[in-house]
């Protein structure tokens, strides 16, 4: 869900031909790319994309797990993200002095946590003495587990060898693990990443949940974080995109380690992982080491996709939060997913309406009417149908209502008048240039390759998406606007400044 924005960076390779605006040039770029890219899949189903780029003796690694918050069900929200955090806690051999002994203590902690939960559930009938005793036992087991832990070993092993950009992130659609290393450390990454997804140990699980609850509070302390959670929550009736990535506080509090382990087992089989390696590497060596360190991970079935479909909306939905913060308005319309035939036209619409100083929203709301300081729009390149969102930040002294009205007027214009040929050309030129600008970093390109491979089924769509955008006509834009930007398909979320809000 995050790519449409984050993915405008990217990386790699000599692509002189891309410059030529003639569509024919595209196939040349792709051909050039194919020469440098090696794709292979291990017998257990794990796919690797390896792209040589020898600009500097460094390499970027990107592990894309095709699992995100969308794969959670009620009661375990936040789980995909929790697992992401746990994937830094080590394995059966890294991060421990004695795994067997440690595992026994951790199992005891799981039992005690369940007992605590059961006692707390009794509400008024909870026995405070029993609760206290259980808590003491739980804390004691936690301290005992500490004896076996070699703290932060996983992080340090990579950090010491020169890791850059070592991190991970979770979205509705995916969980992604990233790191850059000097290129001579290829084997270190292979060994550690292979072990990470073969034998992960969720040590310090209950402590890390505290960290994640603080992460949730940080989101709650941002006005746009508060608004987006409400907005997302009412936009979906059925589809899990309505639940935020971070998870509900009560789920975070009650989730157990065995539940996280079951989630891992269901969603982290090699068939659900795709890895891109971009930089100063020899693909044959990559293949040899991949075989050595990843082939032993047992294969498992590819998890079933989410089958719940968002039903057609029957009427506009709206949420207003009264807040200490200044006004902001979000206007969302259900849109199809990234692989739908209408998606390229939605991308073109977001370019024409919502990106840059010459976009319609900026010209109208910011430059001419001076009712907003920022106004944009964007299509969401998501795995399942999601939301096309318009976003406006009113100028001081102006209101959400004025901005919303102006956005609606612009949307009506899209539906009633064909866009000008110059606007269409400009959108296409900018899409092409934006692709070129994505090709200048190993890490960006690794992200792009995994996204297109997993979500669209072929990394080549990184280039072929431009063919589709080039084919979009003014009539397509008009038809797509009429199809999706309807009143009953709309969800609006606002922050309104509460009277007397403490500043």
């Amino acid at each position: 869900m995050e790519h449409a924005v984050v993915r405008r960076r990217g990386a790699a390779v000599v692509l002189l031909a891309l410059l030529a605006i003639a569509p024919a040039a595209l196939s040349q770029d792709l051909a050039e790319f194919e020469k440098r890219l090696m794709k292979f899949t291990l017998d257990n189903g794990l796919t690797f994309l390896v792209l040589e780029r020898h600009e500097a003796p460094v390499v970027s690694f990107h592990t894309y797990a095709d699992v995100g918050a969308v794969d959670e069900v009620k009661g375990i929200t936040g789980m995909a993200h929790i697992f992401e955090h746990m994937a830094f806690k080590g394995t059966q051999t890294i991060g421990t002095k004695d795994y067997q002994a440690e595992a026994a203590v951790m199992a005891r902690m799981d039992d005690l946590f369940l007992a605590l939960k059961q006692e707390k559930r009794k509400g008024d009938l909870t026995d405070p003495e029993k609760l206290k005793k259980l808590q003491e036992q739980f804390d004691q087991a936690g301290q005992e587990a500490q004896k076996y832990i070699v703290h932060d070993e996983y992080e340090e092993a990579l950090t010491q060898q020169g890791a850059r950009g070592f991190n991970a992130y979770t979205s509705e659609d995916a969980t992604q693990y990233i790191v850059g290393l000097p290129s001579n450390k290829l084997e270190l990454w292979m060994m550690l990443e292979g072990d990470r997804f073969a034998h992960p140990v969720l040590r310090e699980f209950y402590k890390e949940k505290d960290v994640i609850m603080e992460e949730r509070r940080m989101m709650e302390n941002q006005p746009t974080g508060r608004l987006y959670e409400e907005f997302q929550g009412i936009a979906y009736l059925a589809h899990p995109y309505g639940e935020g990535v971070i998870g509900h506080m009560s789920d975070l509090q009650t989730l157990t380690k065995p539940e996280a382990e079951a989630f891992f087992k269901a969603h982290y089989s090699p068939s659900n992982l795709t890895i891109a390696i971009v930089g100063d590497v020899d693909p044959a060596e990559v293949k040899r080491l991949a075989q050595k360190y990843f082939a032993g991970i047992p294969s498992g079935p590819k998890p079933e996709p989410v089958e719940t479909e968002e039903p057609a909306q029957r009427g506009e939905r709206r949420v207003t939060i009264e807040d200490a913060a200044q006004p902001v308005v979000l206007i969302g319309y259900h849109q199809p997913n990234v692989n739908h035939a209408d998606y390229p036209a939605l991308e073109v619409i977001s370019q024409i309406v919502g990106v840059g100083r010459t976009s319609r929203l900026y010209k109208d709301l910011v430059k001419d009417k001076k009712i907003a300081v920022s106004a944009n729009a964007r299509a969401d390149s998501s795995k399942y149908p999601s939301l096309f969102v318009f976003f406006a930040v009113p100028a001081k002294g102006h209101t959400n209502q004025e901005c919303e009205q102006a956005v609606h007027t612009q949307i009506e214009k899209l539906k009633t008048e064909p866009v000008a040929p110059e606007e269409l050309t400009k959108a296409k030129t900018r899409s092409r240039a934006s692709l070129i600008r994505q090709l200048d970093s190993n890490s960006g390109l690794a992200a792009e390759l995994t996204f297109y491979e997993v979500v669209t089924g072929d990394w080549r769509n990184l280039f072929q998406q431009l063919d589709k955008i080039n084919q979009v006509t003014a009539a397509d834009v008009q038809r797509v606007a009429q199809t999706y930007f309807t009143t009953k398909n709309r969800t609006v979320g606002c922050i309104e400044t509460a009277a007397g809000a403490s500043r």
């Binding site: 924005v5 000599v14 692509l15 410059l19 500097a56 460094v58 993200h81 992401e84 051999t93 703290h151 932060d152 992080e155 340090e156 950090t159 010491q160 060898q161 020169g162 850059r164 070592f166 991970a168 979770t170 000097p182 001579n184 084997e187 550690l192 402590k207 949940k209 960290v211 603080e214 992460e215 989101m219 302390n221 941002q222 746009t224 987006y228 990535v245 971070i246 807040d323 200490a324 913060a325 200044q326 979000l330 990106v355 840059g356 100083r357 010459t358 300081v373 920022s374 944009n376 964007r378 969102v389 976003f391 001081k396 400009k426 030129t429 240039a433 070129i436 600008r437 200048d440 500043r503």
Partner: protein, 506 residues
Amino acid sequence: MKNTMTAKIALVLISVAVLAGPGFGKATQSVSRASRPRSEGGTPATQNAQEPARAYQQLKYPKLADLQVPAVQRLTLPNGMQLFVLEDPELPLVHVSALIRTGSIYEPADKIGLADLTGTVMRTGGTTTKTGDQIDEQLEQIAASVETYIGDSSGGASMSVLKEDVDTGLAILAEVLMHPAFRQDKIDLAKISARSAIARRNDVPGRIAMREYAKLIYGADSVYARQAEYATIDSITRDDLVAFHRRYFHPNHTMLAVWGDFQASQIIAKIKEAFKDWPKAEVELPPVPKVTYEFRPTVNAVRKDDMNQGIIRLGHLGCLMNDPDYHALMVMNQILGGGFTSRLFKNVRSRQGLAYSVGGAYGADYDHPGLFALSCQTKLKSTVHATEAILAEVKKMTQEQVTDEELALAKDSYLNSFVFNFASKGQIINRLMTYAYYGYPADFLQKTKENVEKVTKADVLRVGKAHLRPDKMQILVVGRPDELDKPLSTLGEVKTIDVTIPAPKP
């Protein structure tokens, strides 16, 4: 146009928030602990006899390919403009970035915001031959950009074009720098934006903390901390913008870096041509008040009633990047508050589960002392406890030597990741130009590396003692001071900071 990401803010969650301060923030993440493999370039880590060697510690790494650092060509044009040139044929693009000797440090106290407005309207207000809107159209049709800005102690411009459009891009860039027209409509627009930013400045609590902390350390009126108000924005006129530009924008006060897909001789000729009518001028820069600082312990609170966490920021003044202790402080920072494996991250986040975001650095800046700022965001009921935990780590840095393992990890991490400083041509040329702009030697980075290699445990303790003042920390908490785990006064006498935004004149 800044907020494309905002709508998605709740959707992507990242594992670590990096909280390094300025200056040192540019250094790598790194850190500590026992029995790590020895790296070929770094310091041997001692093997802890207690633990069996891990498989990854037995790996033999091939020698890293030699770093081919491309030479940046430097020259001065007849009008005094300094050029930095680097060919980069990988992608069909041409990029420019420029630095101009100006900054908000030169704006008068009753016109705070003048430099920022000038930097914005130079581009949006068009030139003597084209309106800003015409420039927008022209650039966006060719998917190009030309932008200008004025920061604290420098002005800047950038250009990025497909290589076939280099003439168009350079012509616009030159016009914008030499002949901005400062049309009134775009001044009005920039003022609307500035006033709206003032109205919104207390919406995001992290920004309140950063702003108020800088005011605590530098002083509310300091050029490095002061903020625009409705009154200062209202007092700025078009004449002020014209005069500010006229005073500071001259070729002999401009450095320009160009990199991309071109032949050096050709691009130099094009740049000469584009800027040939820009005459040299003598400029007398106004004096900039020196940063003066009196070490003192303070405790400060900003009330924000809608929060369920406290944002903590604490420390005191930092140093300059040319301080002789810079490299040892950099190593100290890695151990104290840098990245995933620092003491703060381990002890406050991983071991105690108190915060998602914790860290910081003893900061250094090029031309004025940076901020020593450590920060943490934690639930209200652990705010004072977390503050005490951070204070204890600072104190420890001044009392005990770091361990061999911590030192080795911090140094190895810096040295092994050094190669990433050369991962892109833009990084290489901009670093060189920035060093030149602030009067630092061209080999500053290389020298820093050599010095980091020599840092010992004794050095880290020495600079900890010399630079950190655990008894004179200034502490700021944004949140609900009455709802904390312990009274904030446990830490000292509390001063409440009123962040009410002064109303505009009717």
